[in-house]
């Protein structure tokens, strides 16, 4: 029988506290799923950066808006989506934080870190026009054979 995908949906308030909460939830799920300590850390950091992005840039710290985080657990991967209620953005217009002229910028590294820590990363338009960050971490094949 094919393994079923488990899906968890969490609606977060646009509050600073939601950043830690989302990170903790994602790390706990990743731990239960069998990721290594290092991958759990990377997943946590990526979710942190994603929710910071939604909080600061997407929802502009507006407490009336929500952040929707979904986690899908497949047979060999964990897919995390972070959706804000902002206006969306074009990732190609985000300055490259590694460019010499941007190294001393005090912001703008979140997207880069998510891309660096996850196996796959993309930015899509959400159903309501906000930005949806989609990040994937694949589970090593040695563990996936025993995954629930």
């Amino acid at each position: 029988m094919a393994a079923q995908t488990q899906r968890i949906e969490i609606t977060l308030e646009t509050l600073l506290e939601s950043v830690d909460l989302a990170e903790s939830i994602a790390m706990r799920i990743a731990e239960n799923f069998g990721f290594s300590e290092e991958d759990i850390h990377k997943i946590g950091m990526s979710v942190r950066e994603g929710v910071i992005n939604a909080y600061n840039y997407g929802n502009q710290q507006d407490p009336r808006k929500k952040i929707l985080m979904t986690v899908e657990l497949g047979s060999d991967r964990m897919v995390i989506r972070v959706l804000d209620q902002g206006k969306g953005f074009n990732i190609t217009e985000v300055p490259d934080p590694l460019a010499e002229e941007n190294l001393l910028r005090t912001s703008g590294r979140g997207l880069f870190l998510m891309r660096a820590f996850m196996d796959e990363f993309d930015v899509r338009s959400g159903p309501g026009g906000g930005a949806e960050l989609v990040m994937v971490k694949r589970i090593p094949s040695a563990i996936s054979a025993d995954a629930p």
Partner: protein, 114 residues
């Protein structure tokens, strides 16, 4: 653990010993305020000891960069000491290793200030 910082002075170098996480919110604000207070009181040689900081997010990195540019703008020097592996790796992948003077020995770090 919430970020905590204590300062001490060796010769004319101020060493700020941080412990905890440097993340968005109060922690990154503490870093900013600490460096500002030091520069406002005339200090130009600042060594930030991150031996007990094993977690930093993009906001924390931003505050480190801001601290660096603030001190540099007053012709001062800001250096980092004793990075943990995770912080080291973050600074490396963000190319900030080419910006900061990272030291691994306190005595040598103090001597390296001009």
């Amino acid at each position: 653990m919430a970020l905590q910082g204590t300062t001490r002075e060796v010769n004319d170098v101020v060493i700020v010993d941080f412990s905890g996480k440097i993340t968005l919110g109060e922690a990154s604000s503490l870093l900013r305020r600490t460096v500002k207070d030091l520069t406002d009181s005339g200090h130009r040689k600042i060594l930030i000891n991150l031996d007990d900081v094993d977690y930093i997010d993009s906001s924390g990195i931003g505050e480190l960069v801001s601290a660096y540019t603030t001190v540099r703008s007053i012709s001062g020097e800001l250096k980092l000491l004793n990075l943990t592996k995770r912080v080291h790796d973050l600074l490396q992948i963000t190319r900030l290793f080419t910006v900061f003077d990272v030291q691994s020995d306190e005595a040598a770090a103090i001597r390296s200030f001009h």
